[in-house]
């Protein structure tokens, strides 16, 4: 193989490399042919996923204790609660925000329980 050979081959294939094939309904045909079910997540993957979640939570808690996160959080919450009545925020209504947060959390938990799977 000489350099010239490589140049010839490269020239021939360079155009093919740049060619983008138009979809022309291909994706639509694929989507229509998909089955309703997919292979379930294996037990092994679920166990690994749970172990990984447990590991991350453990690391998080360890750092929290190491850097006295609880004291810091307690101070912030205390300051926030004590100074809350002094805020003059007529544009903000806390009740709807609280309701939205509760509903969103409930929906998230429902979705998680409904699928019966851990996020991977």
């Amino acid at each position: 193989m000489t350099d010239n050979d490589n140049i010839i081959i490269e020239q021939l294939f360079s155009e093919a490399r740049k060619t983008e094939i138009e979809d022309n309904g291909f994706s639509h045909r694929v989507m229509r042919s998909l089955p309703d079910t997919i292979a379930p997540i294996s037990r092994h993957t679920i166990i690994i996923s749970r172990l990984w979640t447990f590991f991350c939570v453990a690391i998080g808690l360890a750092f929290s204790f190491a850097f006295h996160f609880w004291e810091l959080a307690a101070t912030y919450i205390e300051v926030f609660v004590r100074t809350l009545p002094t805020y003059d925020t007529p544009g903000i209504c806390y009740a709807p925000m609280t309701i939205v947060m509760v509903v969103a959390s409930a929906f998230g938990i429902y979705k998680w329980v409904d699928t019966g799977r851990m996020p991977v």
Binding site: I8, A16, I21, V30, M31, S33, L34, A39, S42
Partner: protein
């Protein structure tokens, strides 16, 4: 970033069974997958589309088996490679040059964007050589990814690439490409 986006879409499909997320993956990768099959079937558009469709259906059904150790594209090409080899086994496709050229569809049914010269040249190669050459020269995959896709050792891939390129160079020179 692109890899992260693919993993997000795959997670949506695997966990939430979100078909719209899979549709985005199909639209993104339909061109390289169909191009891969066009090179292997020497320009047979109908067969390429059937094999590409089979590839995406298999990817969808087995999407929970995607570990994210390689990119989604590499995983998809591995499925495409296996789909093609299953096809050659069940249909007893030969490496014989004369058979390959004779069974090639006429120009009207092939993708006009790809030059027939490429298919003529690729027809001179064995199927494994064609796979390696196609993955490197058309799909731009590095050698380690080709080894991952084909399941062959790195040195075997290098040998196939070297032999394939020698055959291509000889064919092209015999057909006046070096002038």
């Amino acid at each position: 970033m692109d890899k992260l986006n693919d993993i997000t879409l795959v997670t949506q499909v695997a966990v939430l069974h979100d078909k719209r997320a899979f549709d985005r993956l199909v639209r993104k990768y339909q061109s390289p997958v169909r191009r891969f099959f066009l090179s292997h079937t020497l320009g047979n558009v109908q067969l390429s589309d059937d094999l590409a469709q089979d590839t995406f259906v298999k990817a969808y059904v087995n999407i929970t088996k995607f570990r994210g150790l390689s990119s989604f594209q590499t995983w998809l090409f591995r499925i495409a490679y296996n789909v093609f080899y299953d096809y050659t086994r069940t249909h007893h496709v030969s490496d014989d040059i004369d058979t390959a050229v004779a069974t090639r569809p006429d120009t009207a049914s092939t993708d006009s964007n790809l030059k027939m010269d490429i298919y003529d040249a690729l027809a001179r190669l064995k199927t494994v050589e064609r796979s390696c050459i196609t993955l490197q020269l058309i799909d731009g995959q590095p050698i380690d990814k080709i080894a991952e896709i084909t399941g062959m050792p790195l040195n075997t891939v290098k040998s196939h690439l070297s032999r394939g390129k020698e055959k291509l160079a000889t064919y092209l020179k015999n057909n006046g490409y070096d002038r």
